[in-house]
Amino acid sequence: MSYLPKSPWLVHYDASSCNGCDIEVLACLTPLYDVERFGVLNIGNPKHADIFVVTGSVNEQNKSVIKNIYDQMADPKVVVAVGACATSGGVFRECYNVQGGVDKVIPVDVYVPGCAARPEAIIDGVVQALGVLEEKYKNMGKVAK
């Protein structure tokens, strides 16, 4: 990936994460890692976002919220599951209220490992998501410029 064709905007939702991954997602935006210099913005509105970053596992209460945010995003969209909880349920896997990873509710394109996931890993995940996004553009009959 030698260039970024577009500025990818991402929307972040904390499913039932312990905050560890969430503050690392925020840490990616701040001066040490500073992904904003590549045009990556963390925004609140799902309708503006290309990439959906989910941390934490799925439970009964937030299932519909995740689905709702995903449905509001315009195509093409990519889902990045950040951290052990979002990929499989992680340390909370056996808890009675945890149903498992985010892929139980919505299709996930990129899985980022780690507990908590390191900012480097999250950035790598987002960069891989851009590749998937480009692929999805092509499949829709459009080419990113």
């Binding site: 904390d14 503050i23 909370f92 209220n97 908590a116």
Partner: protein, 360 residues
């Protein structure tokens, strides 16, 4: 008198990384009521004590919350040690104190950044988080993790910090102190910032006590209560006074946190000077006996209560956490009615909510 409207705030909201959900009842621009709904982060991890033995449980309890993870681990270990009657070595106590105070520094700087973001001061947010990274570097160097350390164990700690590293940490923290001083001037003296915080969301002395507020929310209303004064870990040997502000508004609570950053840095300097040499862990024999134990600690967000009940096996019967944010939700609901809709994010932030602690 306008018509009443209900505006949902959250669960996905740009100002908070966490899912806090409030139904705000509005009359024109004024909030007249707020109904919280919870359960978005509930995992039920207290129940895991039945599946994980008391040593493994430390790592689950640390993940109650990723911001105050160390103090959760420390609180759990302290409770189980109390139940088993274990006395941990002096050096371990000091190391725990140092990590706990570093956690407080990083948590308060993080909060200051989020607060700046809440009133739209983006560059201040960035600066706060830039300074915070220096503290995280210390964590990474001494424990291996940036946010979750897994360094506490029942009976002591896993890792030692050698005395040269401790001295170097102090020099790094002196730099941090200088930078925080510059940044805190903006929070304390800036005219525009004060416009957003002064006189907003006043919680009086009596209300704070009646509603059971804890931590900076309580101390911002003039109540000098700090669990560190109980003297757990090494706090009994360090010299400090609870930080108190009288006004009870957002400005007072900001000021309490700013001053607590300097207090925590001072506590670390004191601890580094006094830390004794020796073992960092005692051997733990046997299982927690039948019985109960309660311990109270001061988290960045306030008082936290741990309860453990043993039954003689390696699995605890029950473990319970009462987190500070849970106690502070009642004061928040007191502050919200009468405020402007635009002030709601600031008010919600001012109690430093940690939803994943509250719902576990």
């Amino acid at each position: 008198m306008g018509e009443r409207t209900i505006i949902p705030f959250g669960p996905q909201h740009p100002v908070l990384p966490e899912p806090l959900h409030l139904d705000l009842i509005l009359e024109d621009e004024k909030v007249v009521g707020a109904v919280p709904s919870i359960g978005f982060v509930h995992r039920g991890l207290e129940k895991l004590v039945e599946k994980r033995d008391f040593h493994e449980m430390v790592y689950v309890i640390e993940r109650v919350c990723g911001i105050c993870s160390f103090i959760h681990g420390q609180g759990y270990c302290q409770t189980v040690e109390g139940l088993m009657g274990i006395e941990i070595p002096e050096r371990a106590k000091y190391l725990r104190t140092i990590w706990a105070e570093l956690s407080r520094v990083h948590s308060h700087i993080l909060w200051l950044g989020l607060m700046a973001d809440a009133y739209g001061f983006e560059s201040l947010f960035m600066h706060c988080w830039r300074v915070r990274e220096k503290v995280l570097d210390i964590f990474e160097e001494t424990t291996g993790g940036r946010v979750i350390f897994s360094v506490c164990r029942v009976g002591g700690v896993w890792k030692d910090i050698d005395n040269d590293t401790l001295k170097r940490i102090v020099t790094v923290l002196k730099d941090v102190e200088k930078e925080i001083k510059e940044l805190s001037d903006v929070f304390i003296k800036d005219y525009t910032v004060q416009k957003r915080t002064r006189g907003v969301g006043v919680l009086t002395y009596q209300e704070a006590i009646d509603l059971g507020a804890v931590g900076p929310t309580l101390r911002g209303s003039g109540v000098p209560m700090d669990m560190r004064k109980l003297g757990y870990a090494a706090y009994g040997e360090l010299d400090f006074e609870p930080i108190v502000e009288k006004d009870g508004d957002c400005y007072a609570r900001t000021l309490v946190r700013v001053r607590e950053v300097f207090q925590s840095l001072d506590l670390i300097y004191q601890a580094v000077n006094k830390i004794p040499d020796g073992e960092i862990a005692t051997k733990v024999r046997g299982n927690p006996p039948a019985g109960e134990f309660i311990s109270r600690l001061e988290q960045p967000r306030g008082q936290v209560i741990y309860y453990a009940k043993g039954n003689g096996t390696k699995y605890l019967d029950r473990f319970r956490v009462r987190t500070p944010t849970f106690a502070n939700i009642a004061p928040l609901l007191k502050m919200l009615p009468g405020s402007d809709l635009a002030d709601v994010p600031i008010l919600a932030l001012t109690i430093d909510p940690c939803i994943s602690c509250t719902e576990r």
